[in-house]
Subunit: 156 residues, 2 copies
């Protein structure tokens, strides 16, 4: 027997916990223009309703996101997932916007600042879903078109 499905308030709180956890990682899926999927684990930060990634500007992930404007992220173990569809807000050299570097270094367990090969990909979540098992597939959407369906008051 599965436990009872969480309601949207609980899922939203859990999703924000996962997004804001120290040293949180995501599996980051992107695609090249010819439809080749790419997937790497990267450490994230949650800042100002955006997800920050720090990657080398020449990396395949950076090039795919800059070209397509899109990424899809999976956070959490595979049976307690948060899945985020995001669009690229902006791509910024890591030393250009102090607030980004501060937020990233505060949450992540490394700090890319000072390495001019690195950029922040500032991703805007458009859709966020969260589920644990088949019983939670219904009601898994927490954000749609960039708007929280549950309006969490604790969203940073």
């Amino acid at each position: 027997m599965s436990p009872a499905p969480r309601d949207i308030a609980a899922r939203t709180a859990d999703a924000l916990s996962a997004l804001t956890a120290p040293a949180a990682d995501a599996w980051v899926a992107t695609a090249s223009a010819d439809g080749t999927p790419h997937l790497v684990p990267l450490t994230i930060a949650w800042h100002d309703e955006r997800i920050l990634l720090a990657v080398e500007g020449r990396s395949l992930t950076a090039r795919n996101v800059v070209t397509s404007g899109r990424a899809r992220l999976g956070i959490g173990p595979t049976r307690d997932v948060v899945v985020v569809d995001a669009t690229l807000d902006r791509c910024v050299p890591v030393d250009d916007e102090p607030s980004l570097g501060d937020a990233y270094a505060r949450q992540a367990d490394w700090d890319p600042r000072g390495d001019d090969a690195y950029v922040f990909l500032v991703l805007r979540p458009v859709r966020i879903q969260a589920w644990r098992d088949v019983a939670e597939l219904e009601g898994r959407t927490l954000m749609r078109d960039g708007l929280w369906l549950n309006s969490p008051t604790d969203a940073a």
Copy 2:
């Protein structure tokens, strides 16, 4: 301090353990023809040097893989990963090849057989990489062009 990087024999053994573990899941990245990334967690089975996925034939994952012929899978926690680039060997209704259904049901914790909406995606690994941290990025490639670099004798 990181522990010493594993050698290729240890990484290959660990990767095969991850691929053959009971109820093993993967994050499965695919892309549509217009370059939109898709990513979902799915339970895998390792059979005859192939990775089996069981999905609804109408799912976005199935449609993307059948169209593009490609998937990239991430297995393991984000700091002990196995990453597999794979091509589609074949797409088979779940009741058509008993050896596939037997292998999937033996390793996975569910059995799709009897549901004619489901297909097995039989994926051929082309490249397999494994790493835990930055110190293991060097030497992360275990399979290239479909060939194990370490020729594991225990590969099923």
